[in-house]
Amino acid sequence: MQYLSEMSDEQTLHMYSGHPMGLFPSQKGAPRVVITNGMMIPNYSKPDDWERFNAMGVTQYGQMTAGSYMYIGPQGIVHGTTITVLNAGRKISKNGEGLEGKLFVTSGLGGMSGAQPKAGNIAGCVSVTAEVNPKATETRHSQGWVDEVISEVGELAARVRKAKRDKEVVSIAYSGNVVDVWERFYEEDIQIDLGSDQTSLHNPWAGGYYPVGLSFEESNRLMAEDPVKFKEEVQKTLVRHVQIVNKHAQRGTYFFDYGNAFLLESSRAGADILAENGLEFKYPSYVQDIMGPMCFDLGFGPFRWVCASGDPKDLRETDLIAGAVLEEMAEQAPPEIEQQLRDNLRWIRSAEENQMVVGSMARILYADSAGRILIARAFNQAIREGRIGPVILGRDHHDVSGTDSPYRETSNIYDGSRFTADMAIHNVIGDGFRGASWVSIHNGGGVGWGEVMNGGFGMLLDGSDASDSRLEKMLFFDVNNGIARRSWARNEGALFAIKREMERSPDLRVTLPALADEKLIKDHLNQA
């Protein structure tokens, strides 16, 4: 903070995993801060390497936006979860009906997962979210993020029956282990329509997932005193967890992995989670089924902004500006993207009413490259005219281009390249020299250390012409980089989006794949 308070606009601060290496001379228009978190030589990126090098004070886990100074509380994840639940609802809808009276069961009321009850309410269903840590439950309940707290599973079952029957829109926290909920609901024949899990399975051995049957305190003790035994208990619970989810799935539950490594860790624990081919999982990740094809491939992702004045009036004004841009876009949009624009228009219109600000005057919505640029340009104009103060642009790392994560953001990449991380690295370098105020790249985040590379940026808009030129160049690359990679992987939506972008932008030339016939190749190989 001292360095930041001293630096000029011709210096750059370099942050090495939380350590300020120093201020170096640079130039105007260059990032003021470059952040790396947890960068390792790839062979030294196992969980125990993190424990060791973090304890020595030479690296840290950057998570996603927290380590890149772009965390805005659970609003981002509320939005993402709402979009996911809405679209999951569309998938299970038989006759076009909505989510009224349907039940969503999940777990976790932490920083990210705490968004689930609110998303359930916005999507209009009955939700049950289990959480083992009473402090986390209490925090979320006192903040109004979850409507009711129940700590006895029988009472919970009765309450849920009533809520389903009366088609209530209600979010219930269960203070206890989620496995108990799944098992009890099975015994009592309570139909779970949507199921997921957001325990912190990126960190299963140190507090991210708790064994069933042990109290929270007992678990914490065991974790520190007998980590080997604790690990066994966690794995036993994972096996049991999957078993009961499988039983519900046979009764018609649509279960999806919400990107917390539930599928990955249960398979490592030996749970019955693999599909018949022995390679894929039984359940889709929400990115494979929903977020990838319906959003990321088309360039839609979590654009966000913060009104730097801290004035709620500024936030209201930016909501109106963004709403007007989306509405105009939706009127002219091709059918492939109109639904996305409409969902986000609805979101931004009710954003203030849903009271999601927990500190910064921040907002999120999903937009594609054109939408992000139009909205940012309109903000810059409003700043120039003195209608609002400066605005800080950013985004979640959970986006089109910023993150290479084979079980989450890039899980719907099927050309074999999902275990590479070139896209995320190009993204942070490309954003850096196109005018971001700061950039960051992390190893780990969401799904765990060694499992993902993810990056972000921040950009200050001050109403200047320089801001106009920077926002246009940077936002354009920050979205189209990923669409280009997704289209090279032959993803249909991305091919559509990048061709459309090339028509609009003469300076963009992306290498397009020729689509080889799979059957031709197989036949040839069989003959040979």
Binding site: M1, D9, R32, G111, T139, G207, D462
Partner: protein, 129 residues
Amino acid sequence: MNEFQKAIRAGIPAELPPKKEIDERINHAPRRKEILTEDEKVLALRNALRYFPEPLHKELLPEFAGELARYGRIYMHRYRPDYPMHARPIADYPARCSEAAAIMLRQRSSLSELGAVPADHAVSLRNER
């Protein structure tokens, strides 16, 4: 300049700040398993002391060693900032350029908005400076 601005400008204080008790009401990260060898513990402590002038080491060492033994990490609780952690208007941050002020705003508020995750332990202190 108000107290907050003075604290930011001062950076790591030249004098030892008073010892801080750990606020048990805040949600903390669970204790980590013991992973370092004896040599690595020496390294961890030498690494932590790099931030502070040598004359303070005698006093800081037992505290840092205690944290390492108790939590498996050196959190440097004594140096936790005294000012409340929340988003302030950009004009409140003492800075020579507006981008740096915007970054300070975002850095501090990202920490405060972590909410129910173990912010006090997990990320705060290594990000402090």
